[in-house]
């Protein structure tokens, strides 16, 4: 039993944190809002140069051959800066799905994924609105129980504006002539695996977002003075943020366990992911609610950066399975006749 990350994983997190912290400022995020794609090609190139695009690509295809457990701490860091580039989907969902599909498709695309030349985006039936379909070099799309591997030109897009200017959402129509690459049982298995990976990505980012909102709120309330002292010295304000810290603290281990289960392809991975996503998105939701409260009217403005992180947290709660979906998954497990529950059951 070893529930810790190894030194390499922690060092990688540290260096990615430093890079993202320096590069992805709120100003840079805002600058991308006004562009056509909302994406920042120079930033994607930088991420690829760091090896992040190829992190989960097998070594024989030019990647680093890492897995969800190696990536989860990095996904947290992506959440912390509200990264808009589709790195988490690409590395955690798209690339592993491409590997699962295998064959000539994988042979052709994995090397390009490794260098970042190709962005691989995965989307489930559940993802009615597909994020970043417009910048996908290869879109792996589940529709009507079948998987399609689509390049630009093989589908048409309708943009749906989000309240979060960083999020670019599309309804996707697949051209009639395109044939599926997986169907039947295989498609179902791929859906379950991809759902786990995508939802894990949301959960990990939610942890980072929650931490960012707490950090911003601590800074703001330590600085802002009323009644002759920093508002952060008042218990009513302190307790708002302490409540977030408590929920956030207990959301971390479930996300890390889920990453382990996904990486190991464990039988209970679906359960672990549902629990992780519920805990993490709830913590991020509470972080948003209490952070805007302690920011006062400033938190309700476009100018103050808090909304960048709040809006992403709100959105992530409802993608890759909303709370209702994941609670149904948990309920299915705990109310089953053969459920193994209670003390000692967690790791069995």
């Amino acid at each position: 039993m070893d529930f810790t990350f190894n030194e390499d994983q922690l060092l990688f997190q540290e260096s990615v944190r430093e890079f993202l912290g320096n590069e992805i400022t709120p100003e840079r995020l805002r600058a991308a809002w006004d562009t056509d794609t909302g994406r920042d090609p120079a930033l994607w190139t930088q991420l690829a140069e760091l090896g992040l695009a190829g992190l989960t690509v097998p070594e024989e295809h030019g990647g680093l051959g890492m897995n969800a457990l190696d990536f989860v701490l990095l996904a947290q860091e992506c959440g912390y800066v509200a990264l808009a580039e589709p790195l988490v989907n690409h590395a955690l969902a798209g690339v592993p799905l491409l590997q699962d599909l295998g064959g000539a498709l994988a042979e052709a695309w994995l090397p390009k994924a490794a260098t970042g030349e190709a962005r691989i985006i995965a989307a489930l039936e559940q993802n009615l609105l597909v994020e970043d379909a417009h910048v996908a070099d290869l879109l792996l799309l589940e529709r009507a129980g079948q998987w399609y591997a689509l390049t630009q030109g093989e589908f048409s897009l309708q943009h749906n504006a989000s309240v979060d200017p960083s999020r670019r959402l599309f309804t996707v129509t697949v051209n009639d002539a395109v044939q599926p690459v997986a169907s039947g049982d295989q498609a179902r298995r791929l859906r379950l695996a991809t759902l786990n990976r995508g939802a894990l990505g949301c959960a990990a980012q939610a942890l980072g977002l929650a931490q960012r909102m707490v950090d911003m709120s601590v800074l703001y309330t330590s600085d802002r003075q009323q009644f002759g002292k920093p508002i952060g010295s008042f218990q009513a304000v302190k307790h708002h943020l302490a409540n977030v810290a408590v929920r956030l603290e207990y959301a971390k281990a479930p996300v890390h366990r889920a990453a382990y289960a996904v990486a190991e392809d464990a039988a209970g991975a679906g359960q672990a992911v549902s629990q992780a996503k519920l805990m993490a998105c709830e913590a991020a939701g509470l972080a948003a609610k209490n952070s805007i409260q302690v920011h006062g009217a400033m938190g309700y403005t476009w100018e103050v950066d808090l909304h960048i992180f709040m809006k992403k947290a709100w959105a992530l709660a409802n993608t890759w399975g909303d709370a209702g979906f994941h609670k149904q998954q948990v309920a299915g497990h705990i109310f089953a006749d053969d459920a193994v529950l209670g003390a000692g059951a967690t790791f069995q």
Partner: protein, 387 residues
């Protein structure tokens, strides 16, 4: 990361399970807040100790097994699964024991630890006073150093299990000129000392689970002082640290409550499902209990690898106490009109011990440092907010 138990850990689990299966009393013991139940629980501590299961994390020389934190968690899981009796000496074994190991002299360790382990000495706490609750530095009970004695005068209150306990550990003001947390000393006091009056205080359930203690020129030998004179605050912080930290409330306790809550919901689903919020609360209970377990394992693994427990451990007490309250409130909702019934009421079949647990859960956010104090600690020490 490897979330599988080792063969050794699995063998340990089986050994615990087997022993408990052969020794846990078939009938639940009476409440340890009764004279009869207290004795029954004391007897159980003797049996546990004979099997060397009393304090598995203690060194072997002191009757323990030198277990690491993961083995301790496994032991606790089996203990709660087996519905073994509650630990009447938890103040001693979980709080004072580790403090003695850190601050006690060799003579003190030899004198107190085995007796604690063997169930001979049951310990009560002596922190709170009528005017020193959350503000513990306001302690006024005095211990005047005269020759090789301390002469203690004053009053302690809310002292859990002091009605039948043998010893009390607590803090007293040894420097009458001192203020706040200076000049306090940590002293171990035999509760049968002349000059001590213990006045039971009935709790919500009507039983005297705690007591007021009056000290009238009580003489205590100086050798009963733990740590240096005037250094009591630091010793007490170590004790409070253990309390808020991992040891006091292991995840197994709440996971078993969550499991029983799921069973209760299923057994009463026809009526309980009328309120959709109840099902939601059951799901949440499970999620939170599991998260508490996962988080505790993660911390335990970090600690066994040499990491230090940080300010984030202050989140622990809020999390489990609110979880416990929520789970029991949910059980009350499921039981509906029967929830308020005492166990001997004719219509009380199937209500189990939920009412008892519900009442006790109300104390969780209060004892061991109120949750408001915990929130201040989190805000100031973990988040770095201004004082």
């Amino acid at each position: 990361m490897n979330l599988q138990y080792t063969a050794q850990q699995q063998a340990f689990r089986l050994e615990v399970r087997e022993w408990l299966a052969g020794h846990v009393p078939a009938q639940p013991l009476a409440s340890f807040d009764t004279a009869e139940g207290f004795q029954q629980h004391r007897d159980w501590e003797v049996i546990l100790n004979q099997g060397r299961w009393g304090m598995v994390t203690w060194p072997e020389a002191l009757g323990g097994r030198g277990c690491d934190l993961i083995e301790w968690l496994i032991f606790e899981e089996e203990y709660y699964r087996a519905r073994a009796p509650q630990r009447v000496n938890q103040n001693g074994i979980f709080l004072l024991g580790p403090t003695l190991m850190e601050y006690g002299t060799e003579e003190q360790r030899a004198r107190f630890l085995p007796a604690m382990a063997e169930g001979r000495d049951i310990w009560a706490q002596g922190w709170s006073e009528p005017n020193a609750g959350s503000d513990m530095a306001a302690i006024r009970s005095r211990a005047d150093h005269q020759g090789d004695k301390y002469i203690i005068n004053g009053q302690k209150t809310w002292s859990t299990r002091a009605v039948w306990a043998d010893w009390l550990f607590g803090m007293f003001r040894t420097d009458p000129e001192s203020e706040r947390h200076r000049g306090l000393t940590f002293i171990l006091v035999p509760l049968n000392s002349p000059g001590i009056t213990v006045r039971p205080i009935p709790q919500l359930d009507g039983l005297p689970g705690f007591a007021e203690i009056f000290f009238d020129n009580v003489e205590v030998d100086v050798s009963n002082r733990l740590g240096d004179e005037g250094a009591g605050w630091a010793v007490a912080m170590a004790t409070a640290g253990f309390e808020r930290g991992l040891m006091l409330r292991s995840p197994a306790r709440f996971q078993e409550t969550a499991r029983r809550l799921i069973e209760l919901y299923r057994a009463n689903e026809t009526t309980a499902s009328a309120d959709p919020a109840v099902k939601e609360a059951v799901i949440r209970a499970y999620l939170d209990a599991e998260s508490y377990c996962l988080s505790t394992y993660q911390t335990a693994c970090r600690l066994t690898q040499g990491g230090k427990i940080g300010a984030e451990s202050s989140t622990n007490k809020i999390f489990w106490s609110e979880l416990d309250q929520n789970m029991h409130a949910t059980a009350m909702s499921i039981l509906g009109a029967r929830a308020e019934l005492l166990p001997h009421a004719p219509a009380a079949q199937g209500v189990g011990s939920w009412l008892d647990g519900f009442l006790f859960s109300q104390s969780g956010p209060i004892y061991a440092g109120t949750n408001e104090i915990q929130r201040n600690i989190i805000a100031e020490r973990m988040l770095g907010m201004p004082r």
